[in-house]
Symmetry: C2
Subunit: 319 residues, 2 copies
Amino acid sequence: MNPGDLPSRVLIQEEGPREGFQSEAPVALPDKLRLIEALATTGLSRINCVSFVDPQRVPQMADAEEVARRLARRPGVLYTGIWLNEQGFERALTSGIDLLPNVVASVSDTFAMKNNRCSGAELIRRQGAMIERYKAEGLALDAAHVFTAFGCHFEGDIAPEKSHRDAGRAAAGVREHDTTPRTVYLCDTVGAANPVLVRRLLGLVRSRWPDQEFALHLHDTRGMGLANALAALEMGVVRFDASVAGLGGCPFAGNRAAAGNVCTEDLALMCEEMGVDTGLDLDALAACARLAQDIVGHPLPGKFMNAGRIRHASAAARA
Amino acid sequence: MNPGDLPSRVLIQEEGPREGFQSEAPVALPDKLRLIEALATTGLSRINCVSFVDPQRVPQMADAEEVARRLARRPGVLYTGIWLNEQGFERALTSGIDLLPNVVASVSDTFAMKNNRCSGAELIRRQGAMIERYKAEGLALDAAHVFTAFGCHFEGDIAPEKSHRDAGRAAAGVREHDTTPRTVYLCDTVGAANPVLVRRLLGLVRSRWPDQEFALHLHDTRGMGLANALAALEMGVVRFDASVAGLGGCPFAGNRAAAGNVCTEDLALMCEEMGVDTGLDLDALAACARLAQDIVGHPLPGKFMNAGRIRHASAAARA
């Protein structure tokens, strides 16, 4: 690899307020707003803020409408949310959140049962109704998320060939409705990927769908998050989900399912230092990471927020 | 990259009991012995146990001779130590520790002043006397360590061209004594490297010294440890320093200088999952990591010790 093999620019999308806070004890509304508003000043253009899901199952997101309503918004930033079914979508639609319609599939059947309460095949079938609903609102399909594309805690290792085959089934389901997603997210839902697996799966899906953009949703459960991102960058991936401070799980709880996304500012630092433009203000992101840590009240795994840049450290040491 | 581009086997050398415990509040002798003896059952063949340095400056290592004397040793494992000068070497020589004679150089002058109390040029000059002392004992030169090869908190960014030039000066100094080190360690002393920098410096030194083995001593200060290791593996590097549990610094203290080495078991996991043989027992290493955490009494940054393997998690979930 030389720097020329890397993309010149990447898009990092923030998942902390949604996926991160969903894994924590419920966070007070003003704290949610404070973090989201601070994140919006860092150059991030997409911030996933809320889930429109069953408040009985996910009490952390019970105030989704309130968050959407009270956010002080900056122009140029999309404040997004997720939903798992039509009921959730109706809530999102009336909430005023920025809508990025998506469909989902799960390579692991067991994960689909736990997350979506149906089999993987049924989950694909249900996406057809979602697509028609989006069409009725005049909304284009933004993304398809392929959950557990690299492995699953319930089903163990998942071969890239199986993920590739299941992605094909999901794609066929979407095509029946005469649409294509702008981006397909290969989701390492539980942090099962390794750099070789990332390249193998990307190679397979790229060969089959050469015109499709693929993005990565990585978790740092086993410490390989940035190494996996590096492998993907070298394959030309230019879109990543990440969460500020690595929010999304307490690394000390041994809670595997809750381990956080790859850390936004650590990923951005690696990109910037390799000459890959992120459009992000690293120091402002580090301040957000420390704010996130204050809000949840326990240490979060992000490293840059404590370590700083070498050049900055140097200036401080000379002063 | 495909798996075939990676080395078939790597040697991971354990730094935790030495470099790790040196950054912690003093650890009791029995705890040191317990961890070192446990590490020796995991397949590690080199464990850096102690520093023979001034106990006034580094009280954590004041019991170096006692550790060397009381260790229950396993055949096939080298229990090593470090020293910074002739006085330290004389102590190591009589201690019974396994001797791996080395020389050092520092690309950052300021770091040399702080660590070795002399300029970088003077440090190179002093290595000549060390080599002669090793020769007098009939000991071959094992390693040369190039400190701060990727940057320094005091001097900031360090260009690979400067590290390459300074390594050349150090090499000339060693050659005057008709010897060559078995391995040259490019040390990312403070965690300043990124994957592009790793490849650029490796490319430079490899071109100049094609027959020399180069190894990496990485710190995970800014979260890029495993990404840097991946870049090095793809360049064919087969020898790494690492520390169990990422021992070597508390990530929550904001203490930059003390941030730990890349984590032994997390690095080993990445290697093994990519088909690179480490010869290490990952589960035994995870148990050592948890022991290290118990001993220091605070969370350590290693991830695998909490997350486990996906396949294992799967078996547990099915049970």
